[in-house]
Amino acid sequence: MSDSAPHPRIGVVTFPGSNDDRDAAWALRALGAEPVPVWHADPALPELAAVVLPGGFSYGDYLRCGAIARFSPAMEAVAAFAAEGGLVLGICNGFQILCEAGLLPGVLRLNASLSFVCRDVRLTVERSDTLFTARCVAGQSLTIPVKHGEGCWFAPDELVADLLDRGQIVLRYAEPCNGSVADVAGVVNGERNVMGLMPHPEHAVDPLLGSADGALVLASLVDAARDRVAVTV
């Protein structure tokens, strides 16, 4: 694939217990990408322009959400891909995995309410200067569904202040959702090539599904992937 690929190849990793991998692949295809399935046991990634870690309950959420998936061969390859500057988006369980793997700051904990939350939520785009939100404008309101029991993002106060300073807090809940510190719904890493968010953009890519706001996030990723030379690890 060249950097001008019309249909950039975006890997979607399936772990045992992933359940949004097919929705993610469907949404990526609808937005012009070529989704490429990646199996958790694959020690190497095919040639890809970006990787999506989908939602679900990888490895049964044993110990802590995402704590075990981090050790899968595919995740080691994804970590190497990210270290080379590859674009990685983690959605819900994918976000939890990226935090546990140390690729994103913070950790996702049990919702403050102790209840599973499954509904559309309003989000505010804090930063549109990321490759994952380039199609949005700062301050824009998005409606995207969440469905999680452990989405309460936590980081110590000093870290939150640093992340705000450096523009790494990308999305915030505009209404009470799960008790996240600073209402954080999505963050990027310092290099700005890895992002995680608890809401599910892949479930909101068509007005028939209630909202198409998720398409702004995923289409931003597809645009960025299209501009990139595929990275092989």
Partner: protein
């Protein structure tokens, strides 16, 4: 040898599970000031040198059993 790893939410970290347990205990009539909920991992480990085992267990905790952002851990060797 056998070791027990106790993983707890760090002091000052909100523990909604502990709060729910605490209020339930109060509803049962117990005068409980606080309850915190953690996790216990029993580990059977090769060797019989407690110092070496402790070193290994500390690495296990740092790499997997506890998340240092939110959890503290304690390692105990139960009397055989």
């Amino acid at each position: 040898m056998r070791a027990t790893v106790l993983v707890r939410p760090k002091q000052g970290i909100l523990d909604p599970q502990g709060e729910a347990v605490e209020s339930s205990l109060r509803r049962l009539g117990f005068a409980v000031a606080e309850a915190r909920v953690g996790r216990l991992v029993d580990v059977e480990i090769d060797g019989d040198d407690p110092a070496a085992a402790r070193k290994q267990l500390e690495r296990m905790c740092e790499q997997l059993l506890a998340n240092p952002l939110i959890e503290s851990y304690e390692i105990e060797f139960p009397a055989a």
